[in-house]
Amino acid sequence: MTLFAFERRLTITVLKAVMPPVNGVVFPPARTARFLADYHRGAPLAARLALRAAVLLAWLVPLLSRPRRTLLGLSPPARDQALQRLFHSRFYLVRQLCQVLKMVAALGHLGNMATQVALGYRGPHLPPLGRRAGGQVPSRDAAHDDNASPAGTALAAAAVAPEAEVTP
């Protein structure tokens, strides 16, 4: 159940209102889009539906009050006020949908090394940007490479089967 292109654009725009730039650091939409793709591929059905519902809610609820515009049609201060009203709603479910938006915004916007470096968050203990143990730059999907198992790890040292041995 992937997002349609317009849903992805709408979601990214709503997330920008949920988490505006921090200390002037703007969040690249491409990274947020990549997280959204992972989200819609790996999250359970309830979480996927919750995000869709949360985006629709944030987008459309401003139509219920003046000026009757969607979230995207409002000025930035009015947009912020609309979100505040939702966030402090007396209805628990509405507050929880706002939490879904916050979680996706936090992981989608801040869950990449470039943004963390820009914000000064990256810790001195972590390997330099783009590098991991062993001095290699792994692909983003390195963990999914078949039998990825660098030498030196205990399990790899034990024995890793080549495919041919298990596939008749």
């Binding site: 912020d80 706002c98 000064g120 203990h125 399990l155 034990a158």
Partner: protein, 511 residues
């Protein structure tokens, strides 16, 4: 004896035959596998998740969630409140993504188990558990966190505890060579946390066990006597792409070690066990967090993820711990939305985050919900929520005592920020409502509990599911109640006792 092997990405049609098939490679599965394999039994381990070695791990939470967590870490328990729950799904299970906190079960909890069912004293004798605890502690290099690597989030909590007169200590962990990278939740990039994939699983494989990753068990069928056939699909855990099938014959038994959620779900899916008890009595230690803003930089993501704890309220079922989250998750825990939230995030490096974990009396349930998925129902009672309030109040007092300018108690019914220590009194006066907190459900136990009465328990005193000889349970689902402390250590001790008991039983038969 077969040669031990890790099959990280098996494909095609795989057929296996062994003495024991173990479902799950976390704390219980790895320990049972190592114990049985070292006792000379032929063992096959089936794990649904991937093998992600330390050298390929990402320090970023979204990557870790995709590769190592079940459902991206986005599952939730339903009840009066919606409570997210976290479980590992990878070779090594949740031990790969936990904080590595090691606690023995309090003896009074064991006494309560025995009082409720005297047979437990025979199945899990305290003296043998203590011996297993010592074995595991040696194997995992358990030692307390040192101030050198703790990081400010932990040292500030220590300062707050001293200033507020609250008992506390640096936590015993299974990471003797920890460098304080603060990435326990995303898995240790150096392999310094001695989780199962770097300890008990290599031991099992060295003793001849074969481990299949990306292998989801679907069906359990008894064949003859105590023998079982296990059918699984080989599939990519993230994309779901099906890559083949695996059939494993277990001559002496199957050991279910798939977690408190997956083990009862697998039993119910296969129509095994009494429906009145399998999947019932789920217990847990839900948690919530309190944030404090300090003048000095904290950078909670540097240092040990969880390095300091307070046992001050443990007799009341409340455990307090520092919890340093990566920025992307720490930001989420801050209150507010829009500009207000972004302003708070801009000071994130000055925020300390400490958690309350509660030994709840509430009971929940687990049900299968589609292929490989479960539905969890759980809601803390009013008495449980009162414990949350007590924990939050104590942490708020400690934060002010440590020098916090602002404390954010994280309760919907209270002001978002407290700037005066006297304001913390309000916390205890709120109505007890689980929806007041943003909780996380951790330390799940007891949904296939052990006992002598098949009407009241799912697993017998011989660790076998009532009415299903040869089908053993080794994980925390067999605990009669929750523990009040982190469960990994007890899961391993109990799994060791289960494996010892099964090995002895089959040795007798062979003799």
């Amino acid at each position: 004896m077969n040669a031990g092997m890790l099959h990280a990405d098996p494909r095609g049609r795989v057929v296996e035959e062994s003495d024991f098939v173990i479902v799950g490679s976390g704390a219980a599965g790895a320990t049972a596998a190592a114990t049985l394999a070292e006792a000379g039994y032929d063992v096959v381990i089936l794990e649904e998740g991937s093998y992600v070695p330390p050298g390929s791990r990402s320090p970023l939470l979204p990557d870790a969630a995709r590769d190592l967590f079940r459902d991206l870490g986005l599952s939730a328990a339903e009840g009066r409140a919606i409570i997210p729950l976290l479980q590992g799904r990878c070779v090594g299970g949740t031990t790969v993504i936990n904080a590595g906190i090691i606690w023995r079960m309090p003896e009074r909890v064991h006494r309560a188990w025995v009082e409720a069912d005297p047979g437990i004293a025979r199945a899990l004798p305290w003296e043998r558990l203590e011996a297993h605890y010592e074995t595991v502690e040696r194997a995992l290099g358990v030692a307390p966190v040192t101030e050198r690597i703790a990081g400010a989030n932990n040292t500030l909590m220590a300062r707050g505890a001293r200033a507020a007169g609250v008992a506390g200590r640096y936590i015993d962990r299974n990471a003797p060579d920890c460098e304080g990278t603060g990435t326990c939740l995303q898995s240790c990039p150096r392999g310094n946390k001695l989780s199962m994939e770097v300890t008990f699983l290599p031991k099992a494989i060295a003793a001849g066990a074969r481990l299949y990753a990306r292998c989801r068990v679907e069906r359990l069928t008894p064949t003859r006597a105590a023998a079982w056939r296990v059918e699984a699909t080989l599939r990519h855990p993230v994309t779901g792409e099906r890559r083949g099938t695996l059939t494993a014959g277990a001559r002496r038994g199957v050991v279910l070690a798939a977690s408190t959620l997956q083990t009862p779900a697998l039993l119910r899916r296969n129509g095994i066990g009494h429906k009145r008890v399998v999947g019932e009595h789920l217990q847990a230690h839900p948690g919530c967090a309190v944030a404090g803003v300090f003048d000095e930089p904290v950078r909670m993501w540097e240092g040990v993820h969880q390095g300091y704890e307070s046992t001050h309220l443990r007799d009341q079922g409340v455990k307090l711990e520092a919890i340093g989250l990566p920025p992307e998750l720490a930001a989420f825990r801050l209150p507010g939305i829009g500009d207000e939230w972004s302003r708070r995030i801009s000071r994130l490096d000055h925020v300390a985050l400490w958690a309350v974990a509660v030994r709840c009396e509430a009971h929940g349930s687990v049900r299968p919900f589609g292929p490989g998925a479960v539905r969890v129902r759980y809601c803390p009672t009013r008495a449980d929520v009162k414990k949350f309030q007590l924990g939050v109040k104590t942490l708020a007092d400690m934060a002010f005592a440590a020098g916090a300018r602002v404390v954010m108690p994280g309760m919907a019914s209270l002001p978002t920020e407290m700037r005066d220590p006297r304001e913390t009194r309000m916390i205890l006066s709120r109505p007890a409502d689980a929806r007041d907190f943003q909780m996380v459900l951790t330390h799940l136990m007891g949904a296939a509990r052990m006992g002598s009465d098949p009407e009241r328990s799912a697993v017998g005193l011989d660790f076998q599911v009532h009415g299903a000889p040869g089908l053993y349970v080794a994980d925390s689902s067999l605990f009669p109640t929750n523990l009040g402390v982190n469960p990994q250590h007890t899961i391993q001790a109990v799994a060791m006792e289960m494996a010892r008991s099964a090995a002895a039983r089959h040795a007798d038969r062979a003799a």
